[in-house]
């Protein structure tokens, strides 16, 4: 797994080089229950580590959810790694992993092993192959000791690690994380941040209120009232956000 990730990330490094890690958002608008929550968003992202910041309700989560088809644009086009999200949701979901804020909401099965195995359903793998990959991933995330434990008995940090493991076991090319560290303490937050920034996938998008984490990315996007108002070097974008919120 690690091998693959590294190879891929190498490929994606050169800005704009490979199609493989390019996200193109073209004049997108999103309406939810008749309300416009994203307006005229256009951006092309070739960087490997991308931060998304902005006020509560500014549209960050909606933007993140566009990227794997959890939300459909009412206008415009979203192309992720060469795949049109509206056309081929299956292919996109195979390529994009999603980590949510609340670990409880993403743990779907009673035990740790079952939960990670769920991610591998429908990929046509044999039972043995599934078991092997699951146990490898649990080992990697330090969860082997809890394999058969009921998931609800894990601590907050462990739950978020489990959520990551369940996403990563599918080896996504792009990981989108929506405030994955908000409920965690310093140590757990650092552990998850390190994984997201340094290791996991060819490309990672992190929605966060943690400005230090945003600064560790290569580029940052700022949302304000449903509009994308800045795409720039993270330091500059964070400064702008701070001024806006002052």
């Amino acid at each position: 797994m690690t091998g693959r990730t590294e190879r891929e990330s190498g490929a994606g490094r050169g800005a704009g080089s490979g199609l493989s890690t390019s996200i193109e958002i073209d004049d997108v608008e999103v309406q939810l229950n008749g309300r416009r929550v994203l307006h005229d968003v256009s951006v092309r992202l070739d960087q490997r580590r991308i931060a998304v910041i902005g006020a509560n309700g500014s549209g960050k989560s909606t933007f993140a959810r566009l990227l794997n088809g959890l939300v459909a644009p009412s206008r415009g086009r979203v192309v992720v790694h060469g795949i049109d999200v509206a056309r081929d949701r299956r292919a996109v979901r195979d390529r994009v992993g999603f980590v949510f804020t609340h670990p409880d909401a993403q743990i779907l099965m009673p035990t740790v092993v079952e939960d990670v195995s769920l991610s591998l359903r429908g990929l046509g793998l044999s039972r043995a192959a599934i078991a092997e990959r699951v146990s490898a991933v649990l080992g990697e995330y330090g969860l082997s000791g809890h394999a058969d434990a009921p998931a609800y008995s894990l601590s907050g940090g462990q739950k978020q690690l489990l959520a990551l493991a369940a996403v990563l076991v599918r080896e996504p090319q792009l990981v989108v994380a929506d405030e994955p560290t908000t409920l965690l303490d310093l140590g757990n937050a650092r552990r998850i941040s390190d994984l997201l920034v340094d290791r996991l996938a060819a490309q990672t998008i992190i929605v966060t209120h943690d400005l230090d984490l945003a600064r560790r990315c290569e580029i940052a996007l700022l949302f304000d009232a449903g509009r994308l108002t800045a795409v720039d070097e993270p330091g500059a974008v964070v400064e702008r956000y701070r001024r806006q919120q002052a």
Partner: protein, 197 residues
Amino acid sequence: MIALYVPGRSILHRLPAGVKLAAMVVLVLAVSLYPHDVVSAGAVLLTVVAGYAVAGLFPRVLVGQVWMARWIILFLAVSQVLFLTPTEALVNTVRVLAIVLLAALMTLTTRSADLLDVLVRALGPFRRLGVDPERVALTVSMTISMVPVVTDFARRVREAQHARGARLGLRFVVPLLVMSLRHADEVADALSARGID
């Protein structure tokens, strides 16, 4: 959540779940339909008790089961004594008790997961009616993982109520429903994101 299954190595434990399920259904039907007298009803009950002994569940677990069925027995006995002769009431009550204990014996000696597997496979023929056995199994497993989550929501609502010095009574169900249904929406997103739809 502690299942009712009692681990063991008896022959009853080792029989395949499907066999036990089928046998249980047949036996329950047979015992129900047979016109019993005091002797036959008593014999059936004794046989079931012997089953508990074979499974190594005698007497503690058996007593627990009878205790759990106490309301059913009481309800039966009271309503029957109102309308039937004492003998009839006795025969009926013993027979129902035997059936309940028989069905429980299968539960006690069969892992939930094994039973679920069998039931899911048994749903196969209903595919044409639009039943998708895999999705049924998925929903059942998700429910198991949601029970502690919802119980925790209930605790949080109760605490908030205490902390605010407010008494909601049964209306506390409303915030519980709101939290739970919002949770369901988040879970739905997580399902989709994992490629299940």
